[in-house]
Amino acid sequence: MEISRRNFLQLSSLSLAGATLTSFGFDLKKAQAYADSPELRIRQAKESTTICPYCGVGCGQIVSVENGKVINIEGDPDHPINQGALCSKGSALYQIANNDQRLTKVLYRAPGGDAWQEKDWDFAIERIAHNIKLTRDTNWIENEKDIPVNRTEAIANLGGAALDNEECYLLSKAMRGLGIVFMEHQARI
């Protein structure tokens, strides 16, 4: 859901139950009082709320977007935990959304290769599924002492703490569906 500033202001003023302070402590009437006031650079931006992806505090953030680009991220003043505050990492989130180092293409390294090759998604999905199937079929344990166990110990899965709950759930379901038991993530380490 993307929400316009107007919607957002309505949303947050509702949540403050009639208080006049709004998303940024931004008060249009007051702003107009200063005839020479400089234009706020996020005035025209669309805003949406999010939760900081770093530590487990779960601070609220407001993302300002213009022309499909993130132009500002700062703390959500309505959020009861952080009340607009953010640490150095949370304050730097803008640089995750705008970063030359981000991966934008599927990369593939052939056995013995010394460099990445750029590939498309169809290649990657096809090839990954092929590998899973081959490893799984070759290393399938159907029964142990005549009891069905339906597992493979030749494939491992790591990660999840950086994913959303819904993604973790899909991952949990998918990996069990594949019979994977070596399944771990950051909580263990």
Partner: protein, 248 residues
């Protein structure tokens, strides 16, 4: 217009440095390339890309160790050396009492950088203009808090009317005898008010900051004139200004 100020309560700062990054984020400032110099503190000084930073200090009396974190930025002095001495009138005070820099007028002479008693303004060596904290004038004018204050988690930074800020500082001083106030009267009153847990000298804050002698600024400009392409007019305006004919 009631003036606005920031209260910096050193006792509450945890040096998360959200303020350092929030300043860069809002003001679109680039990162600096730094080194670890045997400390957590970085960058080593303010610069054209760093308008505020936290200074880290370990102080021990042999038994008790203290680790202090002091935020450094433009103090927005009521009697500001930069404003008084700027030969091109690029520096002015806005409706909140914040010291502003008009980069269209700035000639990059370096007087403000050289003669600020707190050594705050810096010359951007690409644009040849001075730069310093504006107390987020654009945000404040639009009813928002400065980026550094908004992001501060602990209340080490508070923004508000200067008189309110001072009275809350005084009431905290009354509760805790061991606090020191800095900025109430220095240079006619600063707009960054520090509540300190040790004497200002421990934090390298000048006991009696003053506006330097205009002769020194004049001599500095004369030297600049010889080495760089400063307009002779600038020197004339500076002379008039420094020696009382304009500012009287």
């Amino acid at each position: 217009m009631r003036e606005k100020a920031i209260l910096v309560d050193i006792s509450k700062c945890i040096a998360c440095r959200g303020c350092q990054v929030a300043c860069k984020q809002w003001n679109k400032l680039s990162a600096e390339s730094t080194k670890n110099r045997g400390s957590y503190e970085n960058p080593p000084a303010l610069s054209e890309n760093t308008l505020t930073r936290i200074i880290f200090q370990e102080v021990s009396d042999g038994k008790n160790l203290k680790w202090f974190f002091r935020k450094e930025q433009c103090m927005h002095c009521s009697k500001a050396a930069c404003l008084e001495l700027c030969p091109s009138d690029a520096i002015y005070k806005n409706q909140f009492g914040s010291i502003m820099l008009d980069s269209r007028k700035c000639i990059g002479c370096g007087v403000c950088e050289k003669f600020c008693p707190f050594h705050i303004p810096r010359i951007n060596h690409t644009t040849h203009k001075a730069i310093k904290c504006s107390l987020c004038n654009d945000r404040v004018a639009n009813g928002m808090q400065p980026a550094c204050v908004k992001t501060c988690p602990t209340g080490a930074l508070k923004f508000g009317f200067r008189d309110d800020i001072l009275s809350s500082a005084h009431s905290k001083m009354n509760k805790s005898k061991k606090m020191y106030l800095y900025g109430e009267n220095e240079l006619g009153g600063l707009h960054i008010i520090y509540l300190l847990t040790q004497s200002p000298a421990i934090f390298n804050l000048p006991k009696h900051p003053t506006i330097p002698n205009p002769f020194e600024a004049y001599a500095f400009l004369m030297e600049k004139l010889n080495s760089e392409l400063l307009n002779q007019n600038v020197l004339t305006i500076a002379a008039l200004k420094y020696f009382g004919h304009i500012h009287a």
